[in-house]
Amino acid sequence: MAPLPADPATDTGGDTPAGDPGVIGGLTLIDAATIADEPAPDTFYRHRVQLFPALREMWRRREIIFALAERDIRASYKQAALGMFWALISPVLQVILLTLIFSHVKSLKVPHVPYILYSFVGLLCWGFFSGSLQQGGNSMIANLLLLQKTHFPRECFPLSQMLEQSLYTAIGLLPLTILFVVNGFVPKAGVVWVPLFIVIEVLFTTGLTLMMSALVVYLRDLLQVTSIILQLGLFATPIIWPLSKLAKVSFGPFHHVDLRPYYSVFNPLGPVIDNIRRTALQGLSPDWPLLAVATISASLYFVIGYRLFKRLEVNFADIS
């Protein structure tokens, strides 16, 4: 396009806009041939996110976690005739089933504690963990559109699922309370320790959920693997059996080995559930050495999970 010479003779007035067609002032043309094939090696973007700034940013945007959770809860119960009642039904049915099956097994009996209370406490802890892992793991791919089009911290997706699960767990406290009343059982004074144990469980669950949700974006197969592992985990975690079963294990050349510390490293849920029952139901004091192992392990799960998540988030929008 050639610039036109000014032609004031025919200019009958009217504002001359700044970008008058034909004026080439300020226009930069770039020849594609002058652009390199690759960027300079020292300009490559490195995604370095420190744990604490990331946590602070997430805390600043915490309303989003609530909004996502609220949206999911509203959406999932809006069209169900029984609404939130469903959140109550499933744990109750599950515990009735487990109690019917296992309360007759002599070796699982715990003195002075009704078995249904014993198993329900374990089941509530397990429900929070498995629900978080399953739903949280699925959360990134369930929100693909938002993931690609909005820009709040990505961990809001799995964390909102965890928030949702904690609500369901809280709802599960209602039948638990009823069971306490029906059995005429009063929680022991050690129940004051329970919040501490819950913190350990939340740390562990958060770490694993973040890890899972990030990896699932890369490899969807993990969702299937998780659901299988969780089904096994229901029995591999001391829910229907006491942790003390691991205190004296004999296998091969070894006799009476205490497996509990090793188990606690892998699955901090074990000591968490065990200690909730010890303090709240059995009236014993907390098992501090095992709790220490569980705390360290859960913190490691959390830090590793969070860092892995932040490391992998660079490509979330590209890959999904």
């Binding site: 396009m1 009958t12 700044a18 652009i35 909004a67 089009k149 909005t150 820009h151």
Partner: protein, 393 residues
């Protein structure tokens, strides 16, 4: 970190690549891929942004234009931090409001009211902020009466209006807009543009992606034209658009087609045989060659470069086999100064099949008064010059 004012965007040598083909993530493909990589097989990515540079001051307005796949949307995603650049520096200061996909955040099962709260929170508004703006948002979206109805019972226009309305009431420092005007009726489009210019007038920085060149011209002071991942031109909007329109015409003209007519020569001349001038008579002369004669309808259109003409002249005529000339005289040419393109189509009268499909055949310049710019944020569809006499009393 250097402190820049909120609303600044700095994009410096930004590169972005995608893996070109991930293949299926099954074992066999993955093993094959590892094998390829071990043998030192070629790179398996492609660049979607190459060395993009620009800077926007607070309150600045800029458009990204280019054909599909030229990297516009990716650039916006990198700026909004949905994606991360592969290399280079991309910094923004202040709160970003991204109108990337206004329907994405809308959940069909929830009511309009619930959606305003949910989507608003996702975009970074606090509950208190939303309370304060709730009525404005509902009113702007024109859904006040349907606010407690589930959004799945909304018309698609209403859904888009709701999404846009929420997203445009963010009070962001930077507003990123990606092709949202393609939906919604003409009324709402204008309303959106007015809303965006209102936001810009309040000092928000605007980065705008659209194929609607009229909207781009109405909204933005500067523009960047992207082709095949690279910047082709940047500068004042009108100048960049001129380049862009010219390239569309070139592209269309070189595209092969199955026409049976050949255009030998195109000339547009003024009354004295010189240049075309606004308001005066103009003659369009076409030299054509036809493999067979017959009766056909001739359409001659004049456009700014795109296939959408400013006006069209039509004439039924019979023509002989071989070379012939068509003269089309236009009286009082109603075009302001600028560069225009002649488009031609010929249609057989019998079977209405095209002897020549609609395509650009030439271009010409018009001398005369420059086009009068409308108020900011108002689109002009095509430039027409109408002499006006004003009287104030």
């Amino acid at each position: 970190m250097p402190t820049s004012a909120d609303g600044t965007i700095i994009v410096e040598h930004v590169w972005k690549r995608f893996r070109s083909d991930r293949g299926r993530p099954n074992l066999r493909d993955q093993v094959a891929k590892i094998g390829r990589r071990l043998r030192g097989g070629g790179r398996d990515y492609r660049w979607v942004l190459k060395d993009i540079n620009f800077e926007l001051e607070p309150g600045g307005t800029m458009a990204l234009i280019g054909i599909n796949g030229s990297g516009k949307s990716t650039m916006l995603k990198v700026i909004s931090r949905c994606m991360y650049q592969t290399a280079g520096r991309c910094e923004t200061y202040g709160r970003i409001g991204a109108l990337l996909e206004v329907r994405g955040g809308i959940n069909p099962i929830l009511s309009g009211r619930e959606n305003i709260y949910m989507f608003g929170s996702l975009l970074g508004l606090s509950r208190r902020d939303i309370n304060a703006r709730f009525d404005t948002i509902a009113e702007f979206a024109e859904v006040t009466d349907a606010i407690d109805r589930q959004v799945k019972y909304y018309s698609s226009g209403m859904q888009v209006r709701l999404g846009f309305s929420i997203a445009s009431h963010l009070d962001a420092d930077i507003l990123l807009v990606d092709e949202i005007l393609a939906v919604g009726d003409a009324n709402f489009q204008q309303k959106c543009l007015s809303r965006i210019s209102e936001v810009v007038a309040n000092g928000t920085t605007l980065l705008f992606v659209s194929h609607d060149l009229a909207a781009v011209e109405a909204m933005c002071e500067r523009a960047i034209w992207l082709t095949e991942a690279t910047t082709r031109a940047s500068g004042p909007t009108a100048a960049v658009l001129g380049q862009y329109r010219g390239a569309i015409e070139e592209h269309a003209a070189t595209a092969s087609d199955g026409s049976s007519l050949r255009v030998l020569k195109v000339e547009v001349i003024g009354p004295d045989g010189g240049m075309a001038r606004s308001g005066e008579d103009v003659m369009i002369r076409l030299a054509l060659s036809a493999p067979e004669g017959g009766a056909a309808r001739f359409f001659i259109g004049v456009s700014e470069g795109t296939a959408v003409p400013v006006f069209v002249a039509r004439r039924l005529a019979t023509f002989p086999e071989g070379d012939f000339e068509v003269k089309c005289a236009l009286q009082n040419l109603p075009l302001p100064r600028g560069h225009y393109y002649v488009w031609l189509a010929v249609e057989w009268t019998g079977n209405k099949r095209p002897a020549q499909p609609w395509k650009p055949v030439g271009s010409f310049d018009v001398f005369g008064p420059t086009r009068v710019a409308p108020p900011k944020g108002v689109m002009v569809l095509s430039p027409v010059l109408v002499p006006a006499t004003w009287e104030f009393s």
